[in-house]
C-alpha cells in the first residue's frame, strides 16, 4: 500500500522543470513575450502542446496559428504562463490512466475548462494577479498524484473503497498523515512555483481554510469550481466525482453567486 516511503520516492522521481521551461516562465514573468517565445521554440514538445491548445475550436481562429510568438501574443502574458504550467503538469501525467478513466484529451479538457472558468471567476472578483491565475493549474496535479500513487495498488484501493466509502484523499491522509494537496504543494515547490500558488491550493481542499481572507475566498471558489467540473459527465464517468470529499458548508455562502456567474457564462 502507499507508504511515506512511496511518497518520498514519488516526489524524488518528479523531474525538475527543464531549463527551457524555466527560462520561458522567467521571461513571461517579466513580460518579455518575444524572448519567451524564442526559448519556447527550442522545446519541440512544448511547441506542439501550445499549437494544439491554441488551435482548439474554443479559440475560434480560422487559420492555423503555428508561430509561438503569435500564440503567446494571443494568450497574453498571464494566459501563456498558465498554459506553460499546464504543460509542465502533463509531463507528470501518466501515459496510460488506470485508476481514473481519463486520457490525454480528457485530461487536457479538464485543465482547459478549469483554467478558462477560473479566469472568468477572477474577472468577476476583480482580481488581476498572474500568480493567482496560475494557481488553478495545480488542481489537476492532485488527480495525477492520486493516479500515480494508487495505481500500483489499484485492486487494494478499489476493495477498500468498496467496503468503506473513503475518498482517495482520506485514504492517503490516514495512511501517511499527508493529503493530496500537501503533495501538490511539494510538486509546486519542486517546480519553484510562487508560494501563494501553494497556499491557495491548500485552501481549495476545503478542509484547510486559510486565515487570510482573500486566500480563503479564492479557496472556496476554487473548491466549488473543482466540484462543478467533477460533476460533468466526462469526469463522473472517469470516476472522479468522489475523488475528494466535497465540503458543501465551506462553499455554501458563495454558491448563488457562483451559480449565476457560471449559468451566465453557459448562456454565452
Amino acid at each position: 500500500m502507499v507508504t511515506k516511503e512511496t511518497i518520498a520516492s514519488y516526489i524524488q522521481k518528479i523531474p525538475p522543470a527543464p531549463k527551457a521551461l524555466r527560462d520561458t516562465i522567467m521571461f513571461l514573468s517579466i513580460g518579455e513575450l518575444t524572448k519567451a517565445a524564442k526559448v519556447a521554440e527550442g522545446d519541440l514538445a512544448l511547441k506542439a502542446y501550445l499549437k494544439n491548445i491554441v488551435n482548439k475550436p474554443i479559440y475560434g481562429f480560422r487559420n492555423q496559428v503555428s508561430e509561438i510568438s503569435q500564440i503567446f501574443g494571443i494568450l497574453g502574458v498571464s494566459g501563456s504562463k498558465q498554459t506553460v504550467y499546464n504543460y509542465m503538469l502533463t509531463l507528470l501525467s501518466p501515459k496510460k490512466w488506470i485508476l481514473f478513466k481519463l486520457n490525454v484529451t480528457s485530461f487536457h479538457s479538464l485543465q482547459d475548462n478549469l483554467s478558462i472558468k477560473w479566469q472568468i471567476i477572477l474577472n468577476h472578483l476583480g482580481i488581476q494577479d498572474d500568480d493567482i491565475q496560475n494557481a488553478i493549474t495545480l488542481l489537476p496535479a492532485s488527480i495525477i498524484v492520486s493516479e500515480a500513487l494508487f495505481n500500483e495498488h489499484i485492486e487494494d484501493v478499489k476493495l477498500l473503497r468498496s467496503i468503506k466509502a473513503l475518498d482517495y484523499n482520506t485514504i492517503l491522509m490516514r495512511l501517511c498523515g499527508v493529503d493530496l494537496f500537501d503533495l501538490c504543494e511539494q510538486v509546486a515547490q519542486k517546480w519553484e512555483m510562487p508560494q501563494n500558488v501553494s497556499t491557495i491550493i491548500q485552501a481549495s481542499s476545503g478542509v484547510k481554510p486559510s486565515n487570510d481572507e482573500l486566500v480563503n475566498k479564492l479557496g472556496k471558489w476554487m473548491h466549488l469550481l473543482l466540484f462543478y467540473e467533477l460533476s460533468q459527465p466526462q469526469t463522473v464517468e472517469a470516476g472522479l466525482n468522489d475523488f475528494i470529499d466535497f465540503q458543501v458548508d465551506y462553499v455554501a455562502d458563495i454558491y448563488e453567486e457562483f451559480s449565476n456567474l457560471i449559468s451566465m457564462d453557459n448562456l454565452k
Binding site: T3, A165, S231, E237, D242, D245, V248
Partner: protein, 464 residues
C-alpha cells in the same frame, strides 16, 4: 457509481451538481444491475454532498428506484437533506412521490427491521395525517417509542426540549415501503421478520442462498418472527417443512415466534412440529432466556454434524488464501508479516486472553472457512484505517474487523478467479472471545499458519 452498503442499507453519495446532463453518468446500466443484486433492506441516495439538483438529475435515480423496488421489494429513497431540499423534492414530484424521504441516514435506519433493536424515543411530525400514522406504525413495529405531534405548533413546542428525544423526525416521507423479509442477527441467532399472508410467493421472496450461507458460516438458530403474519397456506407450509429438513442436516434449529392460528389451520402447527420446528409465543421468550438460547444453538456457533476434512484442492490453493490475508493486513497496518509455522491440525491458540477472532466462509467451486485470530492490538491497528482514529471501543473494533475480513474474502475471491475457480463469500462473523471460536472449531482439522506482525503473533486457520 456504486452504492456503499452498511447495516443492510445501500447508499449512493453523489457529490456536487446533479442535473440531467450528468445524472446518467452517475448511474450506468451496470450500476443499476449491481444495485439490484444487493441483498439489502434499503437503497438510498444521500443528498448531503449535493449542492445543486434539478428534477432531471433526480429522475435518473428515481428510475433506478423503480427498477430495484420492482425486483427486490426494498425501501428506496433520498436522505440527508435540509428543509429547502425537502420542499424542492416534494414540489418536483407533487404528482406522486413513489419513493421515501428520510431527513438523515440515522432516521432511515430507524425504519429498517435490521436496525439493532434498541428502543428509541422519537418525536414525530408530518403535516400529512396518514403519513404520521404510517410512520408511527412502522417505528412502533421496529420497537421504538414514537411520540406524535398532531400539529406544527405542538411539534415546535415539544422539539424545544430536544434532549428528551433520541431523534426528532420531521421532513420525512414514507413512499412505498419494502415488503422484503427483514433479516437481522442477534448474537448467533438469525431472525427473519415475516408478515401478512404466507403463500407460494413466500418461496420467491425468501433468500435461500442467504440462509444456506448462514448455515455454512456456522449459524445454528433461525427464528421466524411471525407476529405480523395473518395466515399461512399449504404452499408456505411445504416450504417451511423443506427448510426444516435441510436445517436438520446442519443440526440447526428453526423456531417460530408469535404465530397465531386464528386463520391458519392448527393442523399446520402439528405438521411443522413434526418437521422439527419449535413454536414460541413471542420472540423475547427465546432471546431473554439464555439457557434456552444455548440449548437451541443460538448462544454459540456450534459446529454441528457437518464436519468435513480439509482436502487437496483447499491445500493447493492455500498460498492464495495466505497472500490475500497477509497483503490485506499489511496494507491496513503498514507493517511486514513474517511467516512462522505451517501445520495441519486442530486450531491451537496459545494465550487466549486479549485476542479476538473473525471468520468468513466461501463456497462454490470449492468451499471452506478462513478463521483469523488477532491480538487485540493488531486488530485495533488494522481497523484504524477504516475507523479513522484509534479506539478502545471493542464493538467498533469488531464491527470494523468484520469489514476487514470481508476485504480479505473479496481478495480471496479475486485471486481464485484468476485461477478460474469461482467462489462466493458468506457474511463475516466475529468472536469477542476465543472460547466461542473454539466451540465452533472443535474437531475441525485445518491448516494453521502462524504469522508475526511487529512481533505480535497472528493466526490464520483454513478449514472446511
Amino acid at each position: 457509481m456504486r452504492a456503499m452498503v452498511k447495516e443492510s442499507i445501500a447508499i449512493f453519495t453523489p457529490q456536487g451538481f446533479l442535473d440531467g446532463n450528468c445524472a446518467s453518468s452517475f448511474l450506468t446500466i451496470d450500476d443499476i444491475e449491481a444495485t439490484s443484486a444487493l441483498k439489502v433492506d434499503m437503497v438510498l441516495v444521500s443528498l448531503k454532498k449535493v449542492i445543486f439538483f434539478n428534477r432531471n438529475g433526480l429522475d435518473a435515480f428515481v428510475k433506478m428506484f423503480a427498477k430495484v423496488r420492482a425486483k427486490n421489494r426494498v425501501t428506496v429513497g433520498f436522505c440527508d437533506y435540509d428543509k429547502k431540499k425537502y420542499d424542492t423534492i416534494m414540489k418536483f414530484y407533487q404528482d406522486g412521490v413513489t419513493f421515501s424521504l428520510f431527513k438523515t441516514q440515522e432516521i432511515a435506519r430507524l425504519f429498517t427491521s435490521t436496525f439493532k433493536n434498541e428502543s428509541k424515543t422519537l418525536l414525530l411530525y408530518s403535516e400529512d395525517k396518514s403519513q404520521r400514522a404510517a410512520m408511527a406504525i412502522e417505528l412502533h413495529d421496529n420497537g421504538h417509542n414514537p411520540i406524535i405531534s398532531p400539529n406544527y405548533n405542538d411539534f415546535l413546542e415539544k422539539s424545544i426540549n430536544e434532549k428528551a428525544y433520541d431523534f426528532i423526525i420531521n421532513d420525512t416521507y414514507l413512499g412505498q415501503m419494502g415488503q422484503k423479509i427483514a433479516t437481522r442477527v442477534t448474537g448467533n441467532a438469525i431472525i427473519y421478520t415475516i408478515s401478512s399472508f404466507l403463500d407460494a410467493e413466500f418461496g420467491n421472496t425468501f433468500s435461500i442462498s442467504y440462509h444456506t450461507n448462514s448455515l455454512n458460516v456456522g449459524f445454528r438458530l433461525f427464528i421466524f418472527d411471525a407476529y405480523k403474519v395473518v395466515a399461512m397456506n399449504i404452499h408456505a407450509l411445504n416450504f417451511f417443512s423443506k427448510l426444516a429438513s435441510s436445517a436438520a442436516e446442519y443440526n440447526a434449529t428453526i423456531c417460530f415466534a408469535g404465530l397465531t392460528f386464528e386463520k391458519t389451520p392448527i393442523a399446520f402447527k402439528e405438521t411443522l412440529e413434526d418437521s422439527g420446528i419449535i413454536f414460541f409465543n413471542q420472540l423475547d421468550d427465546i432471546l431473554h432466556d439464555k439457557e434456552l438460547l444455548q440449548e437451541l444453538g443460538g448462544s454459540s456457533p456450534a459446529s454441528g454434524k457437518n464436519k468435513r476434512v480439509i482436502n487437496k484442492t483447499t491445500v493447493t490453493e492455500l498460498p492464495r488464501f495466505i497472500d490475500a490475508t497477509v497483503l490485506t493486513i499489511e496494507m491496513m497496518t503498514n507493517s511486514k508479516a513474517i511467516k512462522k509455522a505451517v501445520q495441519i491440525h486442530d486450531i491451537e491458540i496459545m494465550n487466549k486472553a486479549d485476542k479476538i477472532a473473525s471468520s468468513i466462509g466461501f463456497y462454490g467451486d470449492m468451499d471452506g472457512m478462513i478463521i483469523l485470530v488477532f491480538p487485540l492490538g493488531i486488530a485495533k491497528q488494522a481497523c484504524e484505517l477504516l475507523i479513522g482514529e484509534q479506539t478502545d471501543d471493542l464493538e467498533l473494533v469488531l464491527d470494523s474487523l468484520s469489514e476487514l475480513v470481508n476485504i480479505i474474502g473479496g481478495k480471496v475471491k479475486t485471486l481464485l478467479a484468476d485461477e478460474n475457480i469461482s467462489v462466493n463469500i458468506t457474511l463475516p462473523r466475529t468472536y469477542n472471545d476465543i472460547g466461542s471460536l473454539l466451540e465452533m472449531t472443535t474437531d475441525r482439522k485445518g491448516v494453521q499458519v502462524d504469522l508475526e506482525f511487529n512481533n505480535d503473533k497472528f493466526l490464520f486457520f483454513l478449514t472446511r
